[in-house]
Subunit: 337 residues, 2 copies
């Protein structure tokens, strides 16, 4: 029988600590690759990239590559370069996202686009993206290249899809899940899957790790979308209500809109159009979200996807790696409480 | 003895027509790949990409891949997909460039960022870039992947370098050549070189085609930089003086500044800082450029690089392909006249 999320209880809140401890020495090697390969003769590149890369991110995606490799008892070091490639793709995406959203705060720090301007963020993102492919080519696995080039295209597709869904309060739950499946979960899935490729495991194990990462990624994003309405800038490292003011139609909004009165629906439509962006409007939105159970049900959906992620690990042997990967899911879905 | 540029004279101005005729049927195949692979379930992607891709570009870079493959009598079709990948990289770069420069006109049409906004241009650029890597992975040559991922990183590096040189009138001629070698010539070189890879030629031939493309690319950019000061919007498809108003320090500016009086130097410094952006200022800049011979010497430099491109073909046998590639150089350096 596979583990269930509610049974993960070590007498402390679930955390990423076991996973971080599991991969600590590998992560040092990955960090060395990252620092080495973000260098350039053009000083603005390491300066800008370093601001974000050294800026306190959890390194969630490369950590997953490393932990999955540990799950498979992979004895080599190829995954260090590939985990760095995954982090470069993610960093490039963040740089471009912040330009697209006009964000001014990330992880509690001013964003690169605010400090160095949009042009520099766009171009350094392009550099990191290219550099990630150079790292993959050096590794030399066409299978890994296929997985990550596909993930990159899917991410960009998801981002464009999200852009065109922006301010459209009638966005369906299905389309929303398509969007987060692409923009967030695809890279989680790929980060996990490539561990099976370097460990030369069969396709069933590849697909199991893909499913783990994909479901974890969806759970992660669902919780992020809930947190936007319940956190404050201090805990989240970005402003509360950012998505709300940007007119991002996330699951909490979709559920509250669907369940609301005619008056509530009008409020959500106006809010997503950008006509209700005051602090009082945000407070009203939070009231509606609670009254309709939209936040609770978003978090319940996150737990369902989290359980699928845990289930996907069912075929792998018990041990520290599986425990850490399982607790990472519990951490992901528990963050909003 | 290799051909010399001044001896290319068919009783008509040099043109790309022979190269276009040479590769016409191959280009149809490339266009089919481009149209097929810019599709997506997210409608904005083909809409935006199609605006630029169908927007009357010369397809210079994929044409070079095709013509070089013809030079080597390559009998296969692998280069169709790879030429499309090259065009996707170029298109992604153009989309991002127009965001970075805030351009509103390209090839005589409104730019994508003006029609659909900067966010869409950034994200569709990312999609095309990812798609180009998917195409390369499908081809399966790690050597091609290495050449093009390296070219992509070098292009991005060159773009950031150009961004940080912007408005710096003291930029050296050496740094300027570094910038255009990276942002323009690297993809010309890669586009030519990959033809030798698919045709399975030796490294000497790879490097010869690389040198042809690189020198052609530099010549091409030098002439573009000169044209910015002498063309009008009708012939160039973009506004005359765009680089001047953006504070882009190109070779004509570097030469005119270096050769100018103290008063002229002050003018150029102010102009690059953006304080001299009127039509009268542009006219004064044009007067100074002519008086100092800066335009003539920029075009002379283009001819020197063009001659090197022609020389790089010296080892290949005579024939229609070599004639077409040689005339393409003559066309590139003759455009400003």
């Amino acid at each position: 029988m596979s583990a269930t999320l509610h049974r993960i209880d070590a007498g402390r809140p679930p955390s990423l600590d076991p996973m971080m401890a599991l991969v600590a020495s590998d992560m040092n090697a990955v960090n060395a690759v990252i620092l080495d390969r973000m260098q350039s003769d053009v000083p603005l590149i390491p300066e800008l990239a370093g601001h974000l890369i050294a800026g306190g991110g959890k390194r969630m995606r490369p950590m997953l590559t490393l932990a999955c490799a540990r799950l498979l008892d992979y004895p080599g070091t190829r995954h260090h370069k590939l985990a760095a490639a995954v982090e470069f793709i993610h960093t490039a995406t963040l740089l471009h996202d912040d330009v697209v959203d006009g964000s001014d705060l990330r992880r509690g720090k001013r964003t690169a686009n605010i400090i160095w301007g949009n042009p520099a963020s766009v171009l350094v993102g392009d550099f990191l993206f290219s550099r990630s492919f150079e790292l993959m080519v050096e590794d030399g696995s066409l299978k890994v290249l296929k997985i990550l080039s596909n993930a990159s295209a899917v991410i960009a597709e998801g981002e464009v899809n999200q852009l065109t869904a922006q301010r459209q309060v009638e966005t369906s739950e299905e389309r929303y899940l398509d969007i987060i499946g692409a923009k967030t979960a695809a890279l989680f899935a790929a980060a996990c899957r490539i561990a099976a490729v370097v460990a030369e495991r069969n396709e069933a194990e590849e697909l199991a790790l893909d499913a783990y990462g994909r479901n974890l990624g969806i759970a992660f994003q669902l919780v992020d979308d809930a947190i936007d309405f319940v956190s404050d800038a201090e805990t989240m490292g970005k402003g509360v209500g950012d998505d709300f003011r940007d007119g991002k139609v996330t699951l909490p909004v979709i559920l509250a809109h669907a369940r609301g009165s005619a008056e509530d629906k009008a409020f959500w439509r106006d809010a997503m159009m950008g006509f209700r962006a005051s602090d009082a409007d945000l407070a009203h939105a939070q009231t509606l979200l609670r009254a309709t159970g939209a936040i609770d049900d978003t978090l319940a959906a996150a737990r369902r996807y989290g359980q699928r992620a845990v289930d996907a690990l069912g075929g792998f042997g018990q041990g520290a790696a599986k425990a850490a990967l399982t607790e990472a899911v519990a951490f992901a879905v528990a963050r909003a409480y």
